[in-house]
C-alpha cells in the first residue's frame, strides 16, 4: 500500500485548492479570511507531514538517549508552531479591516463596495 503513503499530500492539495477558491471567488471579506485560514492550514499540514518518521515518537529526549529510538523531525514543527501564531495575527488584522470597511460602507461584500466606489 505505498500509494496510501501519499494520502496526506492529496488532502493537502484539496485543502489548498478549496482555500484558494474561497479567497479568489468569494466576495465576502470574512469568508475570504476563512479561506485564507484553510489555505494556511494546508501548508501547515504539508510541513507537519514531512516530520513523521515511521516508528518514531515526538522529539522529546529524556535521560540517556537510546540510539535505536527514532524521533520525528523537529525542524518543520518549529516552523509551523510559530507560523500558526503569526497566522492568527494576520487573521485578526484582516478582521479588523473588515470591521472598519463595514462601518464605512455598510457592507463587506466586495461587489457592493466596488459599486458604491463607482457611483461616488
Amino acid at each position: 500500500m505505498t500509494l496510501l503513503g501519499l494520502y496526506n499530500y492529496w488532502i493537502y492539495i484539496l485543502l489548498l485548492v478549496v482555500g484558494l477558491y474561497a479567497v479568489l471567488v468569494k466576495s465576502n471579506y470574512v469568508k475570504r479570511m476563512i479561506g485564507l485560514g484553510i489555505f494556511q492550514a494546508a501548508v501547515f499540514l504539508l510541513f507537519i507531514s514531512m516530520d513523521k518518521v515511521e516508528g518514531g515518537t515526538g522529539p522529546i529526549i529524556r535521560g540517556i538517549p537510546d540510539p535505536d529510538q527514532l524521533f520525528s523531525n523537529p525542524l518543520p514543527q518549529v516552523l509551523i508552531l510559530t507560523a500558526i501564531v503569526v497566522g492568527i495575527a494576520v487573521t485578526a488584522l484582516g478582521l479588523a479591516l473588515a470591521i472598519r470597511i463595514r462601518e464605512e460602507y455598510g457592507t463587506i461584500e466586495e461587489n457592493e463596495i466596488r459599486r458604491q466606489d463607482h457611483e461616488a
Binding site: G5, L6, S27, I38, E54, I60, I84
Partner: protein, 328 residues
Amino acid sequence: MMSVIGLMTLTLLAIAAIATVMASNLFISSMWFGIFSLLMASNFFILDAADVALTEAAVGAGVSTVLFMGALALTGDKEVKNKLNWLAVVVLGVLAFALFIATFDQPRLGDPNAPVHMHVAPWYLEQTPNLINIPNVVTAILASFRGYDTLGEVLVIFTAGIGVLSVLGFKPKHRPVTSGEAFGEKVRGVQHHAILRVVGKLVIPVLMLFALVVQFHGKYTPGGGFSAGALFAAAVMLYGILEGADRSSKAMPQLAMLRLAAFGATLYAGVGLVCMLLGGAFLDYNVLWPDPLIGQYVGILLVEFGVGLTVTTVLIMIFNAIANRPTY
C-alpha cells in the same frame, strides 16, 4: 503505513474544509472552521507533532473562533451567494492536477530516508542533549538554536497587535449593554444562561493554571510561550464572553496590555543584548552563567517568558478592541 485513525481524521478534515467554504451563513461557516482546526490539531498529534497540536488547538479552535464570532457580531453573518466562477474552477483544477502528479515523486509518509531527515535535523537531535540539555528538542530549536527567527515572529505578532489597534482605535468605546428583552432587564455577556456561567467560570482557573504549566514546563513536555500565551488569552476571552467584554477589558486594560506586550518583546531582545555585553554573540545564552548549560536554561526560560507575555497580551488586546466595539 498510515493508521486507520489517521486516514479518518484526514478525510474528516477535507469534509470540514468543504463545509466551511460551502456554508452561506458565516456563523455556521466559522463554527465549521473551528471544527476544522480541532481536526487539524488531532492530525498534528497523530503525526508526532505534539507542540504544534497544542498550539493549533488553542489558537485555531479557541482564539480564532472567538475572534470570528466577535467580527461577525459587527459585520453581520449573511453572505451574498456568488455564482460559480468557472475560470477559477478551471485554473484551480489545473493546479490541483499538476500538484497531484508531483506527489508521486514525494517520499511516502513516515519514510525515514526522506531527504528532509538527512540534512541538519539529525544534528539537532544528537546535539540538543549535549549543548542545551533540555528534553524538548522543539523548544531547544525554537528558543535557542533558531532564536533569531523566533524574535522576528514575536515582533510580527507585536506589529499585528499595533496594526489592529491603529485600525480599530486605541480606546474601546463601550458597547451599549445588550438588552435581554425576553427578561425585561439588562444583561451582558451570557449572564442569563446560568449553566454556561457556572461551568464556564469553573473552566477559567483550570485553563489559566494549565497555561502556566505549558509556559514553564515547556522544556520538558510539549508546550512553550506560543501555546501558553494562546491558552491564557483564551481564558481571558472566556471571561469576556461570560461576563461581558467591558468587564474583561476592565480587568485587562488596553494600555497595560500594550505595555506588557512591548515589555515581552523587549525582554527577548534584551536577553540577546545582555549576551552581547557579556562577550557572546546576540542570543548566545552560553555566556549568561559560568556553566554554559545553566546559561542556556536561564536564557530559554527568559525568552520563552517574553514570547508568552507578548502573545497573551496581543491576543487579549485584539479581543478587547473587537469585542468592545459598538455595533452600528
